[in-house]
Symmetry: C2
Subunit: 278 residues, 2 copies
């Protein structure tokens, strides 16, 4: 049982969300999930840059980095949070309250929410030999106007996550309707073929994470060239090595997808080390 | 300026929503919008039936009709709401709070929210000669597992609604990615060709409303046969008459879409009358 997460809304620990918030009624907002150490977010510049870009993509002006940083500092004053431990922070920006109907308010007052939770537990075996994936039956829909954005419309991920209850399954692999690999429900994916590292094109669906970006930038250190491309499942399954990545665990190797199995290799570990020291 | 809507959460006027509600973080929930008179919902059995079906489609057990009716009665005790006037009620059911992550809670405690707002104002000209539509550039995405459901992932509608600011435009016509007409941002559509009434198939995208269902049932009274089918824009634009429908205004004729214009006819008025006395 995890400790109940702590949150702060618009810099005020006593503020609440009303059911008139467009984040609730329409999923009209964006978010980021990141690690914190000692209450401060790791890789903040990249997260903030992506938050600003995602806000802009749905026509929102992101609150300033100073305001958001102030929220982190406020939460640090709470008992139990002022430690050097790792934790998870989620920053949510919604379009705030509006009148009834889809029309966006003439003057928008975004709501900003910071939620801090304890780090999830990752089994030692995930670091050592990798993770097992479920191949999701649900196929991601194509919406170019929202692709890549980490917005609050995540019902597809919820529905996909309902496909398995086995705790041994780490995540689910999501395809588009043409059998191309896109991502996992909570991670981006890379497939290595020799010294080529391929990662799915996310211009039609999927969420583009900052750890994916960082891996793209770091690949040259491992003498890998990176290609963002369409990646049919059939080709993906022939990869020499597959890894998942996100801001919480860094990188994990994929050990099995259905009956296919990959033996233990070094790529995920190498990227974890690079990400930790970047 | 509309009066601020009143709401009640889980039957408690003082309860609030926390940022841990899955309705906010994932859009993990469903809703209905309906008219009320004297505080009581109109066409409640159909709305409740659809709410139950939509909940089931995302793996939720809908709260009982008795509980929801109790919420309406509670709000009636509020000053200003106890009148015989028409108002708008929105019922939202979310999957409630959960731990971090997409995995649904082992034990789900849905949150139910009832929001009552004043009726929107519809211009006399809309009743008399019809409404003008914008043809949306945004194309609806295809997700068969969510099609037809009135869920809280409505960012496509928000983005589509951002395409126009002209108050003379009543709604936007939404197509899928193959140029088939699906719906408007806040209404379903019908196209009449002679004595045939066509309405788009919503099994791949779109929201199926109860007024659409009611019109399908009532069409025989007007000697119309109804067909649910794929409806390419090109064909749609050749209709003798086009109407929009939803639970708030009943039915309105479409007067213009881009440079195409339809002269005033009787279909929308006939359905409004039938819907009012059904």
């Amino acid at each position: 049982m995890q400790a109940r997460p702590t949150y702060i809304i618009n810099g005020d620990l006593s503020q609440t969300i009303t059911p008139l918030d467009r984040g609730l009624v329409y999923g009209d907002g964006v978010f980021r999930t990141m690690q914190t150490r000692g209450g401060m977010p790791l890789n903040w510049p990249l997260h903030y840059q992506k938050l600003v870009a995602d806000c802009a993509a749905i026509g929102l002006v992101c609150p300033s980095a100073e305001l958001l940083m102030h929220d982190f500092l406020q939460l640090l004053l709470e008992p139990d949070l002022n430690s050097n431990q790792l934790a998870v922070a989620k920053v949510i920006i919604t379009r705030g309250e509006g009148e009834r109907g889809y029309k966006t308010p003439a003057v928008t007052c975004p709501n900003r929410i910071l939620i801090v939770s304890s780090m999830p537990f990752y089994a030692e075996v995930n670091y050592a030999t990798g993770v097992d994936l479920h191949l999701c039956e649900l196929r991601l829909s194509v919406q170019e106007k929202l692709a890549g954005i980490k917005h609050l419309n995540r019902l597809e991920n919820v529905m996909a996550r309902m496909e398995w209850r086995d705790d041994g399954v780490f995540d689910g692999l999501l395809l588009d309707q043409q059998d191309n690999v896109i991502e996992c429900t909570m991670a981006n994916v890379f497939a290595r073929f020799g010294n080529q590292l391929l990662t799915p094109d996310l211009s039609r669906c999927g969420v583009s994470g900052i750890t994916r970006e960082r891996i793209v930038s770091l690949a040259a250190v491992l003498n890998l060239s990176v290609q963002v491309c369409q990646l049919p499942l059939k080709r993906f399954m022939q990869a020499d090595e597959i890894i998942l990545c996100n801001s919480l665990f860094g990188a994990f190797q994929v050990r099995t997808i259905k009956s296919s199995r990959w033996s233990q290799q070094a790529l995920a570990k190498n990227f974890r080390d690079l990400l930790a020291h970047d």
